[in-house]
């Protein structure tokens, strides 16, 4: 229907302030819990762990009062990519020792192990995308920045420029949606000049060439924005983290400790079963 809303079903990076129990946790607890879950899904060796992970994420979505249907739609944009990877895995993946095949046709060889690996890959990606979406639904960019700032603070003692790193993350997070909007605007504008977006035509090479009128202005406006922001920050006296203070003080509550304990337990379960 609308070919220009690039972000419509990209659920990663959308914050949904539903005010649930999860949203009320300390941002550090949410960030760490999210990272634990993502690490566990990445490391889980068997399908039982992945199924548990999927269930955990779905339950977490419900507790966070996120419409599950909307979260599942986030799987749609990367679906072709995942299916492609799974197909590669099935067709060209490692064969089992016995070399039993379910189906062969020339060099193409489908084995039970290959099928299982393909299924695991789909499952793992689905769990990863859902977990990442869950994290971004539940934690705003501001909170990510606060949590990172607090979590990384000890590293300044050994001389690492953590503040500069955190500010970089902050500015990136703030500018990504702006750049996406800008891209949409430029794509629409070039389409009005006869470029073929939103009409579903053109081969791969043509599409690559079509990207040039989009990329050049996007790059230039991005640079311009960066320069403007740098000036605005300088004008407000920003000179790095040195001598800066902050207004935010975070405090860990019992609920945060409990949530963290639960995520450690679940992550261990996902990796070990």
């Amino acid at each position: 229907m609308n070919d220009f809303e690039f972000l419509r079903f990209v659920t990663i990076g959308q914050y949904l302030p539903t005010g649930s129990i999860i949203h009320r946790l300390d941002p550090r607890a949410r960030l760490l819990a999210g990272f634990l879950l993502l690490a566990a899904v990445t490391a889980a060796p068997r399908w039982t762990g992945l199924v548990i992970a999927l269930v955990v994420v779905l339950v977490a979505l419900v507790i966070a009062r996120i419409p599950v249907g909307y979260a599942l739609k986030g799987l749609l944009p990367p679906l072709p990519f995942i299916v492609f990877l799974a197909a590669l895995q099935i067709l060209f993946g490692p064969r089992d020792a016995a070399g039993t095949s379910l189906w062969t046709w020339g060099p193409v060889f489908v084995s039970a192990v290959g099928l299982l690996n393909g299924a695991l890959l789909v499952l793992r990606f689905a769990a990863l995308i859902l977990a990442l979406s869950w994290l971004s639904f539940c934690i705003s960019t501001t909170e990510i920045v606060r949590a990172l700032d607090a979590l990384l603070a000890p590293l300044t003692k050994i001389g690492l420029p953590t503040h500069a790193f955190v500010l970089m993350v902050q500015v990136t997070l703030r500018f990504l949606p702006l750049l996406a909007l800008e891209a949409e605007r430029i794509a629409k504008s070039q389409a009005s000049r006869g470029a073929e977006w939103g009409t579903g035509r053109g081969g791969l090479l043509r599409r690559a060439r079509q990207a040039l009128p989009l990329l050049v202005p996007l790059f230039l406006t991005g640079l311009q924005r960066a320069e403007n922001l740098a000036l605005a920050m300088q004008a407000r006296g920003y000179q790095g983290g040195k001598g800066r203070t902050t207004t935010v003080e975070l405090r860990f509550q019992w609920a945060d400790v409990a949530a963290l304990g639960l995520s450690v337990a679940l992550a261990t379960l996902i990796v070990l079963v």
């Binding site: 229907m1 609308n2 220009f4 809303e5 972000l7 419509r8 079903f9 959308q14 949904l16 996120i66 909307y70 739609k73 705003s140 960019t141 501001t142 920045v145 902050q170 500015v171 997070l173 703030r174 949606p177 702006l178 605007r185 430029i186 629409k188 504008s189 070039q190 389409a191 009005s192 000049r193 006869g194 470029a195 073929e196 939103g198 009409t199 040039l212 009128p213 050049v216 202005p217 230039l220 406006t221 311009q224 924005r225 403007n228 922001l229 000036l231 605005a232 920050m233 004008a235 407000r236 006296g237 920003y238 000179q239 001598g243 800066r244 203070t245 902050t246 207004t247 935010v248 003080e249």
Partner: protein, 579 residues
């Protein structure tokens, strides 16, 4: 006693990529006293922004000296103190906001000063209170309107408690209500004792100041109170500037009614002076009715159009609701409305960038609500010029940029050259003089014309223009209006959205006003602008001629309400005034 800011023989040149330098400021000497309200105006390339950046050490002079509260800006060690003394609000609201929460952004500068947290919180509260955004403190800035974002940026500056605030074209991207709010803030801060320096393309905003500095090619050309600077229209024109709209009207009226005093710069002054002349009541016919158009079907017909962005997600946002619009062939039609009222969304429906979710859109023979319709054919017929179209230029040479569209249509060789030449001449750019120029080296006004020509090269029969004059300096603004006027005379149908009521009055015959995605007022431009009060309630304003008529009517004059051109006003006045 030394001045707050002092420029002593300042020269500055920008380094060029290939070596060499381009002069921006030449031997400028200027004193700005504590508590002054100064406007700095000048054409593009006059050095306004460069000057602004010297006011708080974002740039330091090549030669000469700038001191801020006695501190030399060339001394790096003093920069922190200088930033604290002179704050700055920039042109693009969304580019100067650092944090993703309003209150954190306001705290940014104060945090950089290393103040204790309790003190920062107190200052943030106070600053948000002053700009009237206390309720918005926990919102992400991108959810705010451009005008509100600009107030967030101002609050961030206020939290640093500066003695002087520089507004670098801070109102250029705002709608009338946003602009009014920022101007009121500037006046209020000045009353509170701050030094205010406003850099602007809007001459009526320069009238708010006590002193106007006019720059030309890096030099101070004029410096004095608004009454003196705006006394000589011809000098201003030579400097690439213009009189404020009310002063321009006053000048025209004085040519017809020499009894009027000189030096009237504002609408109230003009109303006062006219009312003081001896006049009588006459029964005037209400605005001359145009011959009603022959009963042909309109070229563009929008019925009950509804649109929701991000439909089917929790972030869904209603943008249009039951919108109705008729545009006749060869007409010039304006869309008015505050930022976010749905003007751009409506325009994008008229050339098939968006397809109707609800309701119908018909353009010529194409029914856009029918999924079978060939949108490419619609886009060829209806050209859309986006806001700030020069930011979408991607070719190195002017000629290639304009040829992009026709080339995609399959034009080659000589016919392509002819088409590009034709489009360039429509916007007043010589083919031979400009086709091989680098696009990046053009001035702002020239880039805008290239972007316009690149759409005209597609030979559309309808032209949609989103804020065509936004951000242009007075000379480029005037020139672009002339070209649009000529396009109109060729029979092209124009649909434009604008925050510039003078442009709307000068160019268009019909107006549709949008408010929160609904079409709330619709009709001839004279009838719509006659409704000053409802328009202001919608965050809009009216042209100065209409404001003068409204002022006189409030004093009991029997002028018809729907006058928008100075010619019509002169005619009506000549009947009322006793000569």
């Amino acid at each position: 006693m030394s001045a707050l800011i002092e420029f002593d023989d300042v020269t500055y040149a920008y380094p060029l990529p290939g070596g060499g330098r381009i002069a921006a400021l030449r031997e400028i000497s200027l004193r700005i006293e504590e508590g002054e309200y100064v406007a700095i105006v000048g054409a593009n390339g006059s050095g306004k922004s460069t000057l602004a950046r010297h006011l708080n050490a974002l740039l330091v002079p090549d030669e000469g000296r700038v001191t801020v509260a006695g501190l030399d800006t060339r001394d790096q060690a003093q920069h922190a103190a200088i930033y604290r003394t002179v704050g700055m609000v920039f042109q693009r609201p969304e580019d100067q906001i650092v944090a993703s929460l309003v209150e954190e952004d306001v705290a940014f500068g104060a945090e950089n000063m290393g103040l204790p947290p309790a003190e920062i919180r107190a200052r943030v509260d106070e600053a948000l209170e002053m700009v009237g955004l206390s309720e918005m403190r926990m919102r992400p800035p991108h959810q705010l309107s451009a005008g509100q974002q600009q107030r967030v940026a101002l609050a961030g500056v206020l939290a640093m408690r500066p003695r002087c605030i520089v507004f670098d074209e801070a109102t250029a991207m705002l709608d009338p209500a946003g602009r009014r709010a920022v101007r009121e803030m500037m006046a209020e801060l000045h009353r509170a004792g701050l030094t205010i320096i406003a850099i602007t393309h809007f001459m009526e905003e320069a009238l708010d100041a006590q002193r106007v500095v006019v720059l030309e090619r890096g030099r101070v050309a004029l410096d004095g109170p608004p009454g003196t600077v705006f006394a000589d229209a011809d000098t201003l024109r030579n400097l690439g500037l213009d009189l404020p709209p009310a002063a321009r009207l006053a000048r025209t009226l004085r040519q017809h009614f020499p009894a009027l005093p000189a030096g009237m710069l504002t609408v109230p002054a003009l109303v006062e002076a006219l009312d003081a002349l001896s006049h009588h009541d006459v029964k005037l016919p209400t605005a001359p009715t145009e011959p009603s158009p022959v009963a042909s079907a309109p070229l563009i017909e929008v019925r009950d159009l509804g649109h929701t962005y991000m439909l089917g997600t929790p972030l869904a946002q209603r943008a249009l609701e039951g919108v109705t619009l008729d545009v006749r062939e060869g007409a010039a039609h304006s869309l008015l409305g505050a930022t976010g009222s749905g003007k751009s969304t409506l325009m994008q429906h008229l050339n098939g960038l968006l397809r109707p979710q609800e309701g119908t859109v018909r353009v010529g023979e194409y029914a856009l609500h029918d999924p079978q319709t060939d949108v490419r054919a619609v886009r060829r017929m209806v050209g859309l010029v986006f806001q700030l179209p020069e930011t979408q230029i991607f070719e190195q040479y002017v000629g290639d940029e304009i040829a992009y569209g026709p080339r995609l249509q399959g034009l080659l060789g000589d016919s392509l050259r002819q088409r590009v030449r034709w489009a360039m001449e429509l916007v007043g750019m010589g083919f031979n003089a400009f086709k091989d120029r680098f696009t990046f080296a053009l001035s702002g006004g020239e880039k805008r014309k290239v972007a316009l020509a690149s759409i005209l090269a597609l030979r559309p029969s309808v032209l949609l223009l989103d804020e065509p004059t936004a951000g242009l300096d007075p000379a480029s603004h005037r020139e672009l209006l002339t070209h649009l006027q000529k396009l109109k005379e060729t029979g092209m149908t124009l649909v434009l959205s604008s925050h510039q009521m003078e442009d709307v009055a000068a160019l268009t015959g019909h107006v549709t006003v949008l408010d929160s995605g609904r079409s709330v007022l619709d009709g001839r431009v004279t009838d719509v602008f006659a409704q000053g009060e409802p328009l202001r309630a919608l965050g809009l304003s009216t042209p100065v001629v209409t404001q003068v008529v409204e002022g006189l009517r409030a004093r009991g004059w029997t002028l018809p309400p729907g006058l928008i051109s100075s010619v019509a006003l002169v005619e009506a006045l000549s009947r009322c005034l006793n000569s």
